[in-house]
């Protein structure tokens, strides 16, 4: 097996084309799958040495996060804490310190586990994914990308994410079996705009409810343009339980998850309120 460490995105794309190798981000999932021989790549293209992929920065319209930003880096970023707090929250509880130091947001999307911690917040925040391949660079809503099968065509590199600076308030909660090193059994990210006491443009994304994280259109519809109060919360709970019911059907985990999502939604909203300084 060949091992490459390109210094630039273009170099990486070229190597991918010529070697038919696969991209290695943090490696916390890929290395395991290689150990178990579930994946036996012809070549590995380690993206760790491409400086631009590590950047976390603010531009006029976006918070931009390079695909190789680790969960620790995001979790320590003041920018993300202030302007993408649901993502920041997800970074605090993902895996363990060691995993957070290694795992990247790009890898989280590339591996695309149903329980991927980073995806529901990015979805709720209306994130655009930036991809590049031999055919050039393109930008598309993450929600659309997650609707595609396969997720990425071979040789496509995830460059990073652009979070529009619209949703100043966002929250996240995750239900795991234990307090650390827990795979999400359910996760909920909520983002919204608050105009006085009225909420607009609500976006709710769920993780570990089905094959991939998804954004719920129906929740967005029902919960937008209302007073932000207790009855809004209760409406949200009953609606999200319906969403989980519909998404899980008769899967073994359904009876539990469709009830438990109430507590997760409540906590996600509570975290949003705290982040927004609404509970002081």
């Amino acid at each position: 097996m060949k091992y490459y460490q390109p210094q630039s995105v273009n170099e990486a794309i070229e190597i991918a084309y010529s070697s038919q190798g696969i991209f290695l981000a943090g490696g916390t999932d890929l290395v395991l799958q290689m150990q178990k021989r579930k994946i036996q790549p012809k070549a590995l293209i380690d993206l760790g040495r491409i400086p631009e992929l590590h950047e976390i920065k603010e531009t006029k319209e976006y918070i931009e996060i390079g695909s190789m930003a680790t969960f620790s880096e995001m979790g320590k970023s003041k920018l993300i804490a202030e302007k993408a707090s649901s993502l920041w929250l997800a970074c605090q509880t993902m895996g363990s310190p060691q995993i957070r130091n290694q795992a990247t947001i790009g890898g989280n999307l590339g591996n695309c586990s149903p329980a991927a911690d980073g995806l529901p917040p990015l979805l709720a925040l209306g994130t655009e994914a930036v991809l590049i391949s031999g055919e050039g660079e393109k930008q598309m809503p993450l929600a659309d990308l997650l609707g595609q099968t396969p997720l990425l065509s071979p040789g496509t590199l995830i460059v990073g994410f652009k979070i529009p600076k619209i949703h100043l308030l966002s929250g996240f909660a995750k239900l795991g079996r234990r307090e650390a090193l827990a795979i999400a059994r359910l996760s909920v990210a909520v983002a919204l705009e608050l105009d006085g006491s009225k909420v607009g443009n609500v976006r709710v994304a769920l993780g570990a409810v089905g094959r991939r994280a998804f954004l719920s259109d129906s929740l967005a519809h029902v919960l937008s343009q209302r007073e932000f109060n207790e009855s809004w919360l209760e409406l949200g709970i009953s609606q999200i339980q319906g969403v989980v019911r519909a998404a899980l059907g008769d899967r073994a985990s359904a009876p539990y998850k469709r009830v438990a999502v109430a507590g997760v939604f409540r906590e996600a909203v509570a975290s949003l309120r705290r982040q927004g300084g609404l509970d002081k």
């Binding site: 239900l175 009876p255 438990a260």
Partner: protein, 333 residues
């Protein structure tokens, strides 16, 4: 909603192999020319710290520090059989064997020293702080090593082999009557939990553990056993379960067979009661297993106290708790 509750659990535990099985430990001891000593025993230190306990026992008897004792264990070419490191038996059983062996090796030295000090009986001799001398007469003492060296030049060999056997009888096969174990250890724990009634998640906030140890030979190690036991007990009560499908383990990995992490452990307060067990070394009895027993009961009882549901099958998963809450709601109409 998050609700809090507190639960109590008591337990008892008969230590040793029990049921009349010959529960024997052995130890060899040699006191060296400089007064330091080596203890050989088959007992394995599996991490619980038995080697330190044996060093402390030998040091106590010889008036030395624990670090003056070499404890070499569990090499079948070298050490005598001391039974398994299980059944909460090494402190008690092998501790007794070491104590007997050290006293035996020491007894020759005492006899020799009594002659040296013109003391009519070895009862009048004591070993303390690296010295050997006449009890109550600080002017008549000698560095222990010097006395041992002298004794050896005069042909004394301060070596010994001893065994200790726990008392136990088989129970009657038709009535179960008998005295199968000795001694028994006791303990109780209180657990405070918080139950999320929406997700069914249980968080253990605090555990108070009080255990009967006869005598704490090393309080640090007693506390260590208790905290370790409590944590395993929490895993047993809430997290751990081997999922079997037609005899096949579906979760043979630490990512799917979950044990508690540092963040799953509550504040643990460990206390112990010291009421000497006459048959134990310095009154000690074992604690390894008893430390984890009451936890599961304390947690399960605390869940009931918090939300009024009785979980009867382990582990108390969020699924089981939510289901029990739903059933309770139905019952109440």
């Amino acid at each position: 909603m998050k609700k809090r509750g507190i639960g109590l659990g008591c337990a008892w535990y008969g230590t040793g192999y029990g049921n009349g099985f010959p529960d024997v430990s052995s130890a060899f001891v040699e006191i060296h020319d400089d007064g330091s000593a080596t203890v050989l025993t088959g007992a394995v230190d599996v991490g619980q710290g038995s080697n330190s306990i044996f060093a402390q026992i030998a040091a106590e008897e010889l008036g030395l520090r624990a670090e003056d004792i070499c404890v070499n264990t569990a090499d079948t070419d070298v050490t005598p059989d001391s039974g398994t490191s299980a059944a909460t038996r090494q402190t008690y059983n092998t501790g007794n064997a070491v104590l007997k062996a050290v006293r035996q090796a020491k007894s020759r030295l005492l006899i020799y020293a009594a002659r040296e000090f013109s003391c009519p009986t070895p009862e009048g001799i004591e070993l303390k702080s690296g010295y050997i001398g006449v009890k109550g007469d600080p002017s008549r003492r000698m560095i222990l090593g010097d006395m041992v060296f002298k004794a050896r030049l005069n042909g004394e060999r301060l070596i010994s082999a001893e065994s200790s056997t726990a008392r136990s009888t088989p129970v009657d096969l038709t009535t179960g009557q008998g005295a199968p174990y000795w001694p028994y250890s006791f303990g109780c724990q209180a657990a405070e939990v918080e139950v999320d009634t929406e997700t069914g998640k249980v968080k253990v906030l605090k555990v108070i553990a009080v255990h009967d140890v006869g005598k704490a030979l090393n309080p640090t190690q007693v506390e260590g056993q208790i905290a370790g036991g409590v944590t395993q007990g929490i895993g047993y009560a809430l997290l751990e379960e081997l999922e079997l499908q037609k005899g096949m383990i579906k979760n043979p990995a630490f990512s799917s067979y979950l044990i508690p992490t540092a963040l799953d452990v509550p504040k643990i307060e460990a206390y112990f009661v010291e009421e000497a067990e006459e048959s134990g070394p310095y009154g000690a009895k074992g604690l390894g297993e008893p430390a984890m027993l009451p936890t599961v009961a304390a947690v399960i009882n605390a869940i009931d106290d918090a939300v009024g549901v009785r979980i009867t099958s382990l582990p108390a998963t969020p699924e089981k708790i939510l289901q029990a809450l739903a059933e309770k709601k139905e019952e109440l109409g």
